[in-house]
Subunit: 433 residues, 2 copies
Amino acid sequence: MSHERDPKRDGLAVARRRFLSAVAASGAAAGLTGLVRPAQAANPDNLPPNEPEWARVLGPGVDDRGYGLPSIYEKHVKRRWVPWLTASSESTVNFTPLQDLHGFVTPNGVCFERHHSGRAEIDPEDHRLIIHGLVDKPLMFTVEDLKRMPSESHFYFCECAANSGMEWRNAQLNGVQFTHGMVHCVHWTGVPLRVLFEQTGLKPNAKWVLAEGADGAAMTRSIPMEKALDDCLVAYAQNGEALRPEQGYPIRLVVPGFEANMWVKWLRRLEVGDQAWYHREETSKYTDLLPSGKAYIFSWVMEAKSVITFPCPEKPLNGPGYYSVRGLAWSGRGRITRVDVSFDGGRNWQTAKLQDPVYPKCLTRFEIPWRWNGERALLVSRAIDETGYVQPTMYELQKVRGVESVYHNNGQQVWEVKPSGEVENVRLRYVNA
Amino acid sequence: MSHERDPKRDGLAVARRRFLSAVAASGAAAGLTGLVRPAQAANPDNLPPNEPEWARVLGPGVDDRGYGLPSIYEKHVKRRWVPWLTASSESTVNFTPLQDLHGFVTPNGVCFERHHSGRAEIDPEDHRLIIHGLVDKPLMFTVEDLKRMPSESHFYFCECAANSGMEWRNAQLNGVQFTHGMVHCVHWTGVPLRVLFEQTGLKPNAKWVLAEGADGAAMTRSIPMEKALDDCLVAYAQNGEALRPEQGYPIRLVVPGFEANMWVKWLRRLEVGDQAWYHREETSKYTDLLPSGKAYIFSWVMEAKSVITFPCPEKPLNGPGYYSVRGLAWSGRGRITRVDVSFDGGRNWQTAKLQDPVYPKCLTRFEIPWRWNGERALLVSRAIDETGYVQPTMYELQKVRGVESVYHNNGQQVWEVKPSGEVENVRLRYVNA
């Protein structure tokens, strides 16, 4: 029974002794000078003298919000889009506001969207998933069927192959939301594809899977069977609740570490075949023209990448002093093992702290203390993943891939901090210098 | 460069061989019989014949939703409240819809709320946190000051001490939302209290911290300094975005594993002292009268607990066959190490599968396969944590604590599945039998 037990006083006493000796040894109290301000001398033991209104009134009750929303003071935290990017808002993208986020989970309300025929609005009662082709027994599933099966939940990032793609063509946008906001990371819950294929069986020559969406574009992509059986999910939930309509409600494919275009939304059909289909989205699109004249095709994996999200163009500095510089790193190959940060444009590097937990194929938050002296600085980060791969500069990337690419730009991002505290995207100027 | 590398074909080929031999060895294809339905025989290689409307139209573009919301088909997923529970909606609670959630993260929109004076609506620009009392240097912080400091992010559950409390007094509610919905679990980001105390310094006799909220109730609770220095946070974000107003925007205290009443919202003041304050919320409330006539006080830790969330009264079964029975388990002492499930009211137990990740002081999802034969069944779960503590039956709990308690009911929950598939809360009838 709980009241018979002692609340871990021994362990807690240890924590207290550890704290006191750490403070004594390091002089930690002085560590954040320039950040904190002294409490008002006149009333150190009282509340601030002007009691704000919210401390004097009865606030709204619980009956007005079955489903809650952010504070009215957070209206600036939203997805944004670039009208000139594509022909219409139904075939374009809006971007995740990375500059306003914390930790590594993306809230469902601001996960970037990219559609090819607008957002399908599906009644789950009328939706089916069919599996056919090179299987022993073609099967059809309702959404309820899928929820009755064994499930898995995992955190995975989902990044559009075109994230940071505008920078290849010198369209240098001044904000991390637009340079890197085609990525999000949520907790996916669904049925592993291998559980579904255990039920249909697979013919010996089953080598590829075609995934097709139920939207007007009937988005189709070929996925190698090895990947399908490894870690792909048919997901019905994100961050604990049903998928959002713009994320494929009621079901979508999750293809961890691979480009988001393959994560087919509003999934209605899986066809098993012995070769790839070479549909539009894997030939005309989602390929890059290399300097050799050949196309870079089936470039599925999102390589290691990182970006500093504070400071950034949207979040300037407010005078010299101590700051926690923060950012995100990720790799489609597995875990991030290290992130380096430079304050002088890549000449000198320091290793940042990675925030637990560090999951494979998942955003990872990094943080590094910085005492800004008020002078011009060039902030850069580079991610290293468990394969040993080091995120390249954009210059190194262009040496190999040329300047005609759109997809898979995982080059280092450079922010210039000006003496005013303002921050500017100088990646192109920097790499071309 | 990414295109020079091979997409882990070796590893994937291993996954495929593993799958094929596992299917061959186990006859897994037959494992979920009764669940799946065959695809329509007439067109096994085509789409379902009636192409739904959403596959024939251009859906809405991205310009209408900077901040997204769930599907219109998910309107039933919401917090609900019980009007008769307290005098007014400003001093009551609404409950998390556990029956509709997946994984272990609670979406911000449906995290339960409990207020003492309604929801404070605070402008973060005008909010301050003051730290004073037995410190070397009293200090005052803006929200921006706090965000500039070193941060941590952790998943922790937050459970009201009164969760499941209505059952002590025979108010047996028929739904997991009301029996267990005063718990949620999100990814908290904030500054560790020890980082703040490193800056103020602590006097040698600093043994307790008083936390006070800025709402009209000026909620105040005493917290032992050992706990404050161990793992408490001043949080400004949940699940990646700013705290929701009802969760204490712009800042709240996070006191991992301890009862939610101590997680003071709209935090404005931390006073350091040499003894507890014995304020209203830790004397008149949040104490329990024991059979001995003494009060059970400072009962901070939330002991190991679990509940089956599917099936449950809100989610009946749809005919005999295969089901994944699912639930949640948690412990304020650390990690969940095992969850047992019984289908016959606790006579026989089977060990459920815990879904990765299993964090300390965090909700943990468990799952166990069940082939329901259509007969009456009594479903129960019991959690075991890393201290070896086993979640008791409610009968065992009452033997020690009597029947006058309101708080800290972590007894086992019993659901009766009827031949119709309906599910009823029979905990009281069961434990009193």
